[in-house]
Amino acid sequence: MTPARLLVLSFLLFSVGMYGVLARRHLVGMLLSLELMFNAGNLAAMAVAWGYGRAAGILLAFFGIAVTVAEVALGLALFLLVDRIRRTTTPDDLSLLRR
């Protein structure tokens, strides 16, 4: 049980979340994968806080959680708006700027 192991675990979580963001076809699925990436970041901050006795790392994870919750609220509001106006839940259908 070392900070290095914890960091590698959080890197793994981050990569899994990244795969989800790239491969998901549903907006909420992408948002959930994004949550995984945020959570990995918080875990890394906490690992450093624990391994090297930095209290600021705990506060960083604390702030990270608060920011993430705000981001989820906003993201889901945008998702509901897209769902109602554009009648789709797939980001592939939202390529107006490309045409």
Binding site: A4, G29, A70
Partner: protein, 158 residues
């Protein structure tokens, strides 16, 4: 924290994370995400920060799961609309990022154990040294709340 606890948590965490990115039903993905967040909270508790674990369970897991499930209920179709988009390219990118990060992670110095800060110390830090970020955070949360309401309220300008 013993090795057994760490490896159990790590396996659970990875299993839940894989379920989040692969489940067809987004309800399942959301519940798997809450599993991930709960195991992370257990990690926080094991790392000597029960306060952060409580915040994680109450605010993060409870809040996010409620919001996501509610949004799925009122929207159309809560399942994936097709096969994953370019799964191999996505997996290769993710593996590349992991490799880059892990090669950085190999060079971290060994731990220098210290007594974990208790709630009193954290509170003092939060309200003295980090008071301005804390207040900015409350502003951000208010702005996000108002913004989410504005965005989701489907009312076009005349």
């Amino acid at each position: 924290m013993s090795d057994l606890v760490f490896w159990t948590g790590a396996v659970l965490l990875c299993a839940c994370a894989l379920a989040v990115v692969t489940a067809r039903s987004l309800y399942r993905a959301a519940y798997a995400l809450s599993g991930t967040l709960l195991v992370t909270a257990a990690f926080y508790a094991a790392l000597g920060s029960p306060l952060l674990a409580a915040v994680q369970v109450l605010l993060y897991t409870g809040g996010v799961l409620t919001l996501v499930v509610y949004a799925l209920v009122v929207s159309r179709g809560a399942t994936e609309t097709g096969p994953p988009r370019r799964p191999f390219a996505a997996a290769a990118t993710a593996a590349l990022v992991f490799g880059a990060l892990a090669s950085f992670g190999r060079s971290v110095p060994p731990a220098t154990p210290a007594a974990p800060p208790d709630g009193r110390e954290l509170g003092l830090l939060l309200f003295q040294r980090y008071l301005v970020p804390f207040e900015l955070l409350s502003l951000l949360l208010l702005a996000a709340l108002v913004g989410a309401l504005m965005v989701a309220r489907l009312e076009r300008a005349p």
